[in-house]
Symmetry: C2
Subunit: 230 residues, 2 copies
Amino acid sequence: MISEKNDKDYTIFERMVMQFLKEEEFRILKKASVLLNFGKGETILKQGNRPTHIAFLQSGIAKFSFNSDTNDRTIILTLVSAPKILGGANLFYKDNNLFSIVAVEKSEVILIESDVLMELMKNNGVFSLALFQLVSDMFKRAILNFISVANKQKEGRIADVILYLSGEIYFNTTFNLSLTRKELAEFACCSVENVIMTLSRWQHEKIIVITGKQIEITDMKKLQQISKIG
Amino acid sequence: MISEKNDKDYTIFERMVMQFLKEEEFRILKKASVLLNFGKGETILKQGNRPTHIAFLQSGIAKFSFNSDTNDRTIILTLVSAPKILGGANLFYKDNNLFSIVAVEKSEVILIESDVLMELMKNNGVFSLALFQLVSDMFKRAILNFISVANKQKEGRIADVILYLSGEIYFNTTFNLSLTRKELAEFACCSVENVIMTLSRWQHEKIIVITGKQIEITDMKKLQQISKIG
DNA sequence: CGCGAGCTTGACGTTGTTCAACTAGAGTGG
DNA sequence: CCACTCTAGTTGAACAACGTCAAGCTCGCG
């Protein structure tokens, strides 16, 4: 997706879209964009707001989290690492944002005005198709998480979360967790205590090694097995 | 979305897309399409298959259902009634179908060759944007169901399912259920027994009236209240 | 050095699943 | 026309899974 040239004058996002856009279109898009920095825990797009902007995660990690208004529960629909499009879920229909997008660690985000982007998409089918493929990926992840939550019990779900973090976020079997236990629980849809007890049992069973914020998966096979049997 | 003219020569789908397409494009699309009939329980698009076709539900009701390969559980991600696009979830990336789409009652479906549709979308941004919005709606429903399942306990989830059926599928507070109790359970992510016990308790509490396959919601307020408190 | 947020542990109660037994209706063949 | 079977629906009791609660711990930061 990312074009070959890695000209330092352009952001990842710009290099990504420029292959689909004419020079004029690219200038319009750039004019409608702004680069912002978000710290850990800061909200990028807020649940309930009008979807005035699309976001592109330039660097960092962000969670898609939903807050219930009736009970005080929060769930994490999915988690993504840069570079990725955010907020596409709220992009293609005119409802208010279904969920919030929150930085999980220090992140750079490009905000783009929706109307301008939509106009460009209308005039450029290849560009819109490319964007939509990226957005679909978000949805797919949320649905996979849904399937995990609905089908498996806590052990399998927590295994899924750890495997996901390793494979799709940190790209390593050893990683420094930027999520709290509470966030892990919100992601796996179980209580904090369950996350903790499961992780420490796995530690005893030599499946993982926890050193402070660092998690190392030492027995990938067994973890995948747990994920599989649910 | 549907154009004013209701010329009997055209299907709902055709009337829907023709406002976005040039005559030539429309002819190409029509040539790549075929109308099929599906009976109750028949699979329209199968989980694991290559996504060679997009489907448009012309009449009837269809469920998006996921079968686990490790345990024998099935969950219904969402349910839709005609007219709607199906299979968009599998449309915009090249993976195999994540889930099956199955007719819940007698349905007419138009199958369209993906490559042809994609080609048209590339050349017509307005058309692709319109399709995206329809497909996004599918995703949104699945995510709303995810949120319901993750946040609420069985009472609230079953209430959500009944309210959804009433409001989005049958468009009436009295309706003839085309789902079995087992399917209701798969939709609400709980056991069949729980669906049955909850429904019959609601019957005693005069919230609903069940007569064979017919369900009548008599106390909408109370049902919404149950949904709300979870 | 002390305070607070995040983390950890075990005991306990609730929720929801599983199991087994039973009923009702629809379709089949003698 | 009536057993016979098969599937869907129903009920309650036993049991497992999971969340809640209460208490104590640890580490980083002011």
